[in-house]
């Protein structure tokens, strides 16, 4: 009796230690709630502290209100610069489900790279650069009170005679700037700024993407709402050279999403499935040569819109994760054929070996 109690206690202690070592499940961070900027910043530090071998943070710019724009760099450290995947969330302040997704994504990959051979391979061959909240000023402002919840733009003051605040960051990039889907009225929600890259947040992303141009294989920018996967370009008369492939990859991602909870995501260029626009970060990424550039518009389709209930955070993040991974795995396998084959061979060998050994028992 005492022996079995002891062994149970030992097992429990080992399990507890294992969970603490993993760090993530045991902590009380609730991924099914929306978090303030302070909470997200603290969480980022925690991710860095608990995963020192694979996670580090980088400050790559400042917001108008002088906050440090920070990303998490995740992956195994390598000698030479690795190929990379970029993800940003929260370009638009009111789209709270987007930063929630970035946090979920980080949690998932950090929690599975040691046990999932596919994710392990991604960590080996790729670096992930993930910005949980890009428009920090706007996000913080949207938390201020009930009247500010639906803020979208940056918080830079208007220039000249303008008495309104903010520029639409996703119209401010140097990509067909000012051509379509914008307003020159500075009070408009789609005001594209006095000049391209007038906003320090857009400048920060531009600088980073430019500096890492040769490494970046994939640019993902997360928004809501609409349940869409958008491919470049936002201008109706311009096609990306790899449009067909982008559509194929996007449609595969939409299928992966649907398989999770049955939600339909439509795939296409913005002028086809949403509206024409210019100056978007997705277009800029594609223009400077990042081959796979997508915008995700997460749940829902207009019932709750920006005010997506917290009980939908988990299912939304689960399906979007499968969609993002579908794209990332495609890109990885295309660029690292040998590695993909090795993983597959390893899996098959393991399966066959376990089958043989179990067959031998009988």
């Amino acid at each position: 009796m005492k022996g079995s109690v002891m062994s149970v206690l030992v097992v429990l202690a080992l399990v507890a230690q294992d969970r603490v070592a993993c760090g993530l499940e045991d902590k009380s961070y609730d991924y099914t709630k929306y978090h303030t900027m302070d909470e997200i910043s603290a969480w980022m530090s925690q991710m860095e502290r608990e995963n020192p071998d694979v996670a580090s943070s980088m400050i790559y710019g400042r917001t108008y209100e002088n906050r440090n724009i920070t990303l998490l760099k995740i992956g195994f450290t390598g000698a030479t610069p690795k190929k990379a995947v970029w993800m940003d969330c929260g370009i638009h302040a009111r789209e709270w489900i987007a930063p929630a997704f970035c946090q979920h994504f980080v949690k998932e990959i950090l929690g599975s790279y040691q046990t999932d051979p596919k994710v392990n391979m991604l960590f080996k061959n790729l670096d992930f650069y993930i910005t949980p909240v890009l428009n920090m000023d706007g996000y913080i402002y949207s938390w201020k009170d009930n009247t500010t919840r639906l803020w979208r733009k940056s918080r830079s003051p208007g220039t000249g005679n303008c008495t309104c605040f903010g520029t639409d960051l996703n119209r401010n990039f140097y990509a067909n700037w000012g051509m379509v889907g914008i307003s020159r009225n500075c009070c408009s929600e789609i005001y594209n700024g006095p000049t391209p890259l007038s906003e320090t947040e857009a400048q920060a992303v531009t600088d980073f993407l430019g500096a890492h141009q040769n490494q970046l294989l994939c640019y993902l920018t997360i928004h809501s709402y609409g349940q869409l996967i958008l491919v470049p370009y936002g201008h109706p008369n311009i096609s990306a050279p790899n449009y067909n492939e982008l559509m194929e990859v996007g449609l595969a991602a939409a299928n992966a999403i649907k398989a999770v909870h049955g939600k339909s995501y439509k795939v296409g260029t913005s002028p086809d499935v949403l509206y024409a626009n210019s100056g978007s970060s997705r277009d800029f990424a594609r223009l400077i040569g990042i081959p796979y550039s997508f915008t995700f518009e997460l749940r829902d389709e207009g019932d709750y819109g920006f005010l997506l209930p917290e009980d939908q955070i988990q299912p939304t993040c689960e399906e979007a994760y499968q969609g993002a991974m579908s794209i990332i795995n495609y890109i990885h396998d295309k660029n690292f054929r040998g590695s993909a084959i090795t993983v597959t061979a390893t899996l098959w060998t393991t399966l066959v070996a376990s089958w043989i050994s179990s067959a031998n028992v009988f």
Partner: protein, 316 residues
């Protein structure tokens, strides 16, 4: 030609691209070092793309702030609207022209058959086509399915067909909708509608609330039928304000105040926030709605409310 390019470059390009292109134009025989070559390629691509629509950089405007302007204001609609292609003949069901027309049909359906326990939502557009009509305007023919809240996708889907006519007039005219859904006539007032009515028609009932749902998307179960009623009432406004260049959803109920019941109708004062997708604007409307299971929803008063610190005169 060179001066045109120069002017265009000045207005559209950054200084670095401008300088690179100028040097390219001026001295095409000079050997270029690799970084400059990359810059030149990038800038050439940039120039090429920007030349697709030669448009001078537009000045920043600040007249009446946009949120203070009236509804159906041209500026509210998507500016710089490019020439709409493929919007006559057969339409791609997943593309926005079909979806916007279907959304208008949904607004209409909700005004006629919506209730606290029945709000219709678009499930899918199956087929769509559009044609220009002689009187001026564009008529969309739609085949689509709808779901009803609260059951949503768990409940049955209704198959509908509709014709949505967007007139082309100088001042905005609401679209005209002809609609047919299967089994619509069999849709009776639900038991939940009846119970809701009985509960709140009592003389001392004075429900009031603010911000439904709250910032976290949460709402008590008690308030959900009031929120759905707001969606139905807002459909009257969204229907009236719709055009081919808008796509409205109700973003939030800012406030609800129950008024004294009148002639056996629940009377509700609402302030609703509407979201238009193409312009991304949030537009605030105050409205007085009545409802009973027999009469359905009616909007008795509606008033657009400017959302700006320095409110200007509302439009007529």
């Amino acid at each position: 030609m060179q001066s045109v390019i120069r002017t265009h470059l000045e207005s559209v390009s950054s200084h670095s691209c401008y300088a690179t292109e100028l040097s390219f134009i001026n001295s095409s025989t000079r050997r270029r070092s690799p970084p400059e070559w990359i810059m030149k390629t990038f800038c050439s691509v940039w120039l090429l793309l920007s030349l697709v629509e030669l448009r001078p950089a537009l000045p920043v405007s600040q007249e009446t702030p946009l949120a203070c302007r009236g509804p159906a204001d041209p500026a509210l609609q998507q500016p710089e609207t490019p020439e709409e292609m493929d919007t006559t003949g057969d339409l791609e069901p997943t593309h926005y022209p079909a979806r916007r027309a279907a959304t208008v049909a949904l607004h209409y359906l909700n005004t006629r058959h919506g209730s606290p326990y029945r709000v219709f939502g678009l499930q899918q557009v199956h087929k769509a086509s559009a044609e220009d009509v002689a009187a001026g305007g564009r008529k969309y023919s739609l085949d689509f399915s709808v779901t009803t809240s609260p059951s949503g996708s768990a409940g049955p889907a209704l198959r509908c067909s509709a014709e949505v006519l967007f007139p082309r007039t100088e001042r905005h005219t609401p679209p005209d909708v002809q609609l047919n859904c299967e089994a619509l006539q069999q849709l009776n007032s639900t038991a939940e509608d009846e119970a809701f009515y009985q509960k709140y028609i009592t003389p001392d009932s004075a429900v009031s609330a603010q911000y439904l749902p709250d910032s976290y998307g949460n709402m008590s179960e008690d308030m959900q039928p009031f929120w759905r009623l707001a969606r139905v009432a807002a459909s009257f406004i969204m229907l009236r304000e719709s055009s081919e260049n808008t796509e409205f959803n109700m973003a939030q109920v800012a406030s609800i105040t129950q008024q004294e019941s009148s002639e056996k109708q629940l009377m509700l004062d609402y302030v609703v926030l509407l979201h238009d997708l193409p312009s991304q604007e949030i537009i605030q409307w105050k409205l007085l709605a009545s409802w009973s299971p027999d009469s359905g929803v009616r909007v008795l008063q509606m008033e657009w409310q400017p959302r700006c610190p320095h409110a200007t005169k509302p439009p007529n």
